[in-house]
Symmetry: C2
Subunit: 163 residues, 2 copies
């Protein structure tokens, strides 16, 4: 754990300059899902039988109920937004790449995230902001990476560094 970085600025004060390529962050916050959570999300957004029907899911290739990949993305976003992104200084995201669902998310699992800053790039067009590229891993209670993706976020610079 000694190789992990920690943000020196609290979330609300964090700006583009606080992100440095190569730093790896983990956080104490976790997200857990119950069977009910998984079924509720999937009935609304991803009604495939292995996400919505525990009995039928037992006969699926997954041998049991698994969460929608969109649910894993959403839970990961929650942890990412609250721990990695700044508050008012976040200008949103143009996209994400290489989303990989590596292992199923099952009822009772507890997730955490690891965020590795891949790059930081000041905007050429707008002096008040920059883009960060982040490799995000979602990890279960057994230490298995169940999902990963590359996120891109646009973050405001500190006023004193804008010219």
């Amino acid at each position: 754990m000694s190789s992990l970085a920690a943000f020196s600025t609290p979330r609300e004060d964090r700006r583009f300059e606080d992100y440095r390529a190569g730093e790896v962050y983990e956080f104490p916050e976790t997200a857990s899902v119950s069977e009910e959570d998984i079924v509720r999300f999937a009935r609304e957004f991803d009604p495939q039988y292995f996400h919505t029907d525990p009995a039928a899911a037992a006969g699926s290739p997954y041998k049991g109920l698994i969460a929608s990949g969109a649910h894993t993305v959403a839970l990961t976003f929650r942890m990412y937004v609250k721990n990695v992104l700044p508050g008012k200084a976040s200008f949103g995201s143009p996209g994400m790449d290489e989303v990989r669902w590596l292992k199923p998310l099952r009822p009772g699992d507890t997730l955490r995230i690891r965020a590795t800053i891949l790059e930081t790039r000041p905007s050429r067009a707008r002096a008040d902001r920059g883009t960060i590229g982040v490799f995000v891993e979602t990890i279960n209670q057994d230490g298995e990476v169940i999902m990963s993706y590359k996120a891109t976020n646009i973050i405001a610079k500190r006023p004193e560094s804008v010219r």
Copy 2:
């Protein structure tokens, strides 16, 4: 619209062989979101002020409340699962690529999807299935593509084509 394809098999009977590279599908099904939907999803999964607080969002770069990108993904999954994927013959997805949030999703917007089959590839390791690559576009009521991504899905073959 004459260039659009239509599946010849209903969803429950659809198999890997029913997908052909180059075909473009659109569907009558739509998804709409209210301000309440956007705020509810974002409070649970993406608590950034421009997703959760209409008044504060008015002062954001987006000049109003916009939906979480994860919400747009989830709504798109719903339409994709119900219109493009088969039922029991779906073996899930290893991932998606090049997710791009091109325009905001705002309260009152109505979405539909366009799915273009990019490739179909029989599995080398498992004779009973194949992989399809699909370019998915999420389109608003003004005909603007607000999100796109490339999806990968694993689909069972028809029994008679397995050997």
